[in-house]
Amino acid sequence: MLRAELIKLRRSAVWPIALALPLLAVTTGTINYANNADQLTGGWVAFNSQVVLFYGLLFFSLGIGLLAATTWRAEHRGTNWNLLLTTSRRPAALILAKVAATAVSVAFMQAVLVVGTLVSGAFVLRLDGGVPWQLVVVGAIAIIAALPLVVVQSLLSMLLKSFAAPVAVCLAGCVLGVASVTSVGLRPLSHVLPQAINTRALNLGSTALAGSGSLTPDGVLPILLTALGLAAVCVALGVAAIRRVKLR
């Protein structure tokens, strides 16, 4: 089933978006760093913080919303949904295949972001110091941290037939996420809201966002464990939903 999903993904239009979004983040981060070079003296750390500023708050999560909506769109066209209901495979297999396909494109997005940041930092800005391998680690952590949102958006895209509606819901979640990450009162929410988990993962070791965790086992493990736990719970919910909810 995963192979079928990957074939669908290969010919879909997600790649230009998955390529353009991180490249835009790197470009804007580079321009911003170059313009404020006298105030930002932190080298690689400050540069990476500029890159993930908007990307981490909003656009990484929105990108995931779009990618998830795309993987489900084909099933809502024509009579494909009826066809899907006649399959002899288990519902869980379908949901996991969709999640895995979305995660592949999210991983691609992260790879572009990390490679773009390294290339821009080394060759455009010519930052001092060795190439910081922490960037690669944070990039990989962010893929795992993205799993809850991938699952949630995947479920929304399954249940809502419209393409754009799940993205709107994701935007509302992002707004809540920004509020939970930046305000002290709502801080507990930032540990369970998928969008906020993304923001916190991408900002590990960042200097632009106050209260960012550090890149140590103490900072990383809670994020990874909640992400995996939340993703598992949501997959179970999805399997229950696909059995109970009757879509036409």
Binding site: I17, N32, F54, L58, L66, A69, R73, F163, A172, A179
Partner: protein, 250 residues
Amino acid sequence: MTRAVVLELRKMRRLRTGPIVVLLVLAVAALSSASQFSGGTRETFDDPTAAPWAALLLTYTMMAAMTSPLLTAVLASRQTDIEHAGAGWTLAATAGYTPGVLCRAKVVALSLVLLPAVALQSLLVIGAGTAAGIRVPLDPGPWIGYTTLLFLLDVAFLALHVWLAATVENQLVGVGIGMLGAFLAAFTLLLPSAVSRLIPWGYYAVIAHAAQDGDVVAYQSPSYAWIAGFLILVGAVYAFVTRRLDRIER
């Protein structure tokens, strides 16, 4: 045309356009005014030189720029995508509403929904500022000016996205461009206005009625000529492309 607009408004009920708009308006207003309740901001409330209202308008501008392009893309995509299912274009054309008329009616109908929404959004932000305890009197001019221009700009982008959603069936393209536009709109606030004017989404920064210079936030007048030019250009292009939609064969 009036009948076509009424029809579009009827279609919105099942699309739940109303709840989506209300949800996002509340979200943007909440995000814009969240900082008003923090301690550091509160100390500026009684100090006219700190210009708390201008600072609030600037935060609001930032949040509106970040979310409006995507909001318009989502609304336009939902309203237009339904015609691709079940040969809606052909059905409407046999009833006398050609694709071009349909697209224009969609923009008018969505604008009718967006007008009270944007006004409400601004009022909510002002209300939050008052509730948080800003004592400095409010100068309504920049706020009214910004809200009006924000609405007009949203209409321009609704037009773009309705056309995109009608011509490119894959809604990923329209919504994806809306998302990249939101990114650009937020980023152009950090760029000089000479650059923002050349990027369509940069106009979300060009209409800003408040600006930060060093540590000081103050009201400013945007360059109305550029904004008017952009809106007229979009209107003319939209009139042209929707007429073309009538003639192409599907």
